[in-house]
């Protein structure tokens, strides 16, 4: 296989599971900033270690196992008092997270439908926060409202989306 073919294979496999990898990382570090950083490092590492992947096996599971290694490496660098939940708790959550994160594709599909049901205000705020990556504080400062207002609005939007997704799940089942 040429280098170009390898690259293409990697991208086709990774594009199908990167949402899962991100979700898994976020479940363990529960912090947007850290998760973004680890996700980027993991993406690089996956490509570097792609030689070790056995073609035909579950790429998503392999990618998550690499991500797990990265996350715990990150957590080990932190001082004990900087860890919110502690190592034992994290290990316990990691086992559940591996399984739960595998469901993300279904959720994304339903979420896409639900997002279209949001009004312009809601969609715009979500885009500003999660597409433009503008910090809540900055959104609030720019528009002269408190950060609490933005947090509440985002939380409410997310809640509405989850209810919509759950409703779709129950209808399907």
């Amino acid at each position: 296989m040429t280098e170009k073919q390898r690259h293409r294979l990697f991208l086709s496999l990774y594009s199908k599971c990167q949402a899962r990898v991100y979700a898994f990382i976020l479940m363990l570090v529960h912090n947007n900033h850290d998760a973004d950083e680890i996700f980027q490092d993991t993406s690089v590492l996956l490509w570097e270690k792609f030689d070790q992947y056995e073609e035909g096996t579950n790429f998503g599971a392999w990618a998550v196992s690499i991500a797990k290694y990265q996350v715990f490496g990150h957590l080990r660098k932190k001082k004990k008092n900087e860890l919110t939940f502690g190592f034992d708790m994290m290990k316990s959550i990691a086992n559940i997270a591996e399984f739960e994160s595998s469901k993300i594709d279904t959720r994304i599909k339903l979420l896409e439908i639900c997002l279209n049901k949001l009004d312009h205000v809601g969609r715009s705020l979500l885009l500003l926060r999660y597409q433009q990556n503008m910090p809540v504080k900055k959104i609030a400062q720019r528009k002269g409202v408190s950060s609490g207002v933005i947090y509440r609005k985002l939380s409410k939007l997310f809640d509405a989306l989850r209810r919509c997704v759950n409703l779709s799940v129950s209808h399907q089942s």
């Binding site: 594009s15 912090n31 570097e48 739960e100 207002v149 509440r152 609005k153």
Partner: protein, 553 residues
């Protein structure tokens, strides 16, 4: 997944946790709840799975949703008026601090739809397209760049906490770099490369790059800031979807892992070629930032941030410069490098010349000996001024000829502190942006000499052109003060204000500096008060250099 309205508080806490807005009590509540049962952990994972799905999907809408372009600028007024209305009626997000949420309500059996083999979703297609661009970028290099001999063209001139990939693990300061060699992966930290044509490039991890020629570098991803001297005009940065050609300038380029390129021009101008080079080109001027879409190659305006890129590093002083235009001299007294690394409430012990926290005078009158300060390279020395004998004020033997005769007494070590200035009482109105400003508290009698030469090494790209500060006496006591302020450059008196007897009255000091100036000395003295039985000569002389700043250009 379950959802119940009476779990609103829990959901709000989890949401705040992910957004980084949860307080300590909230953290503790979540921790307690998570420890309570496997069901709690499952609910936590489900919640975050949905949050990640939302974030990921919204992020993937970047080039597919027409709304994106309008959002890039601002939300419209309608949105914010509706948010303001919402605030009036919105429920408060309460943190349940005492009782963890009931678990049973979370335990519900949920039947998930059967898993399906899904075709590549929208995000995946975007991701794939973006990265195909990355592949083509690599191919482009091999195919279209003229064959180069592998010659040495640059040097790793500095680095801070740099960790390289295994193939380049031995890379260190002084390592020579060749054209068309292996790609280099900087996993962590910062590295500065200096090309033989004197172009400097600061790379921020994670970054992967390759030196293509003596005037060309390819960035697969990561951040690079280049300073190109006039003789090297034409220096270029290649990214997966753009070519940035210098036209006498300083500029930063960031390539994200998805192949999008961001460009910020700090000085001069550059020529930007994106996508189809024949049609998609733009001349970008200083103070402008652009984004080049990884999917379409379209160029769009983005917010320019002057501090977005690291512009200079210095491993000796552990300095990372993001374009700050000032050096905070109070920060240096706190053991820092003037860019914010110092500690508040730290200072310099005038007897030992070491960093200390609130060293007090327990030994009475002190001789006016000049003591070198070894704990920071930016302060040459410290002394208790007294003109009774020749007052030396630098390691090179500069003399403070105008030094008044003082009691030789001192009270407390000079410290880096944050203080409010009472602007109503000031002679020169103080800009009231923040109520707290950095100050050096220099209770009389005290003198500090900064080494400007060492300070210049923090930001070698900039010149130190002025010293500015406000001086005055703080109101720590309600008794009468009487103090003098003196500022000298290389032993030459450049400013003095004597017999300040009114507290909280601040005066502006603004001194021009030249690149040849070596030492800046700040002094406070006791106003010539005599010792008496009730009070010492230095009583209530809580002198402050407020916002003591070196201005850079």
């Amino acid at each position: 997944m379950t959802h119940k309205n009476n779990n609103t508080n829990l959901d709000n806490m989890l949401f705040l946790l992910l957004e980084g807005g949860l307080d300590e009590d909230g953290m503790q509540s979540i921790k307690t709840w998570l420890s309570s049962s496997p069901e709690a952990k499952k609910y936590y994972c489900e919640f975050i799975n949905d949050y990640a799905a939302m974030k990921y999907h919204v992020n993937s809408m970047i080039d597919t949703d027409e709304e994106a372009s309008s959002i890039a600028s601002e939300l419209d007024a309608e949105i914010w008026s509706s948010l303001a209305e919402y605030e009036k009626v919105a429920p408060v997000i309460e943190v349940n601090r005492k009782q963890p949420p009931p678990q049973r309500e979370l335990i519900q059996k949920v039947v998930y739809p059967p898993r399906e083999t899904r075709p590549i979703n929208k995000f995946s297609i975007i991701f794939l397209a973006l990265n195909v661009a990355a592949i083509l970028f690599l191919v482009f290099f091999l195919k279209f760049t003229p064959p180069q001999k592998t010659i040495e063209v640059a040097t790793v001139s500095d680095s801070i906490n740099a960790k390289w990939d295994d193939a380049n693990a031995s890379m260190r300061r002084g390592t020579r770099l060749i054209t068309m060699g292996n790609k280099m992966l900087l996993r962590e930290g910062l590295a500065e490369l200096t090309f033989d044509n004197h172009t400097k490039a600061v790379i921020e991890a994670p970054a992967e790059f390759q030196i293509l020629a003596d005037d060309r570098i390819g960035m697969m991803y990561g951040k690079i800031y280049t300073t190109v001297p006039p003789n090297a005009v034409g220096f270029s940065v290649y990214t997966p979807n753009a070519k940035v050609i210098d036209m006498g300038t300083e500029f930063g380029v960031q390539v994200d892992f998805n192949g999008n390129t961001q460009l910020s021009v700090q000085k001069g101008k550059i020529m930007l070629l994106a996508g189809d080079v024949s049609t998609n080109k733009d001349e970008v001027l200083a103070g402008v930032a652009k984004r080049i879409s990884g999917t379409t190659g379209e160029i769009s305006d983005i917010e320019f941030r002057s501090d977005y890129f690291v512009r200079g590093i210095n491993s000796e002083s552990n300095s990372i410069w993001r374009g700050q235009s000032t050096i905070n001299l109070a920060d240096i007294v706190g053991g820092g490098n003037g860019l914010g690394t110092g500690k508040v409430d730290m200072g310099i012990d005038p007897i030992s010349g070491t960093l200390t926290k609130s060293a007090a005078n327990n030994n009475g009158i002190t001789i006016n000996e000049y003591r070198p300060v070894l704990s920071t390279p930016f302060i040459d020395g410290i002394f208790i001024p007294n003109g009774r004998m020749k007052q030396i004020i630098s390691s090179k033997g500069h003399i403070f000829k105008e030094c008044p005769i003082t009691s030789g007494d001192w009270f407390i070590s000079p410290e880096n502190v944050m203080r409010t200035l009472d602007s109503e009482l000031t002679q020169d109105p103080v800009d009231s942006g923040s109520p707290f400003v950095p100050c050096i508290v220099m209770h009389a009698n005290m003198g500090i000499t900064y080494d400007l030469q060492a300070i210049r090494s923090i930001v070698p790209e900039a010149k130190t052109v002025r010293f500015r500060s406000k001086i005055g006496v703080g109101s720590e006591t309600d008794r009468q003060c009487n103090a003098d302020f003196w500022v000298l450059v290389d032993g030459e008196l450049r400013y003095k204000k004597t017999r300040i007897i009114e507290k909280e009255k601040y005066y502006s000091v603004d001194i021009k500096l030249s690149e040849n100036d070596r030492f800046l000395t700040l002094v406070t003295t006791d106003g010539g008060d005599l010792e008496d039985q009730a009070y010492t000569s230095i009583d209530s002389d809580w002198c402050r250099y407020a916002e003591p700043t070196l201005i850079l250009e």
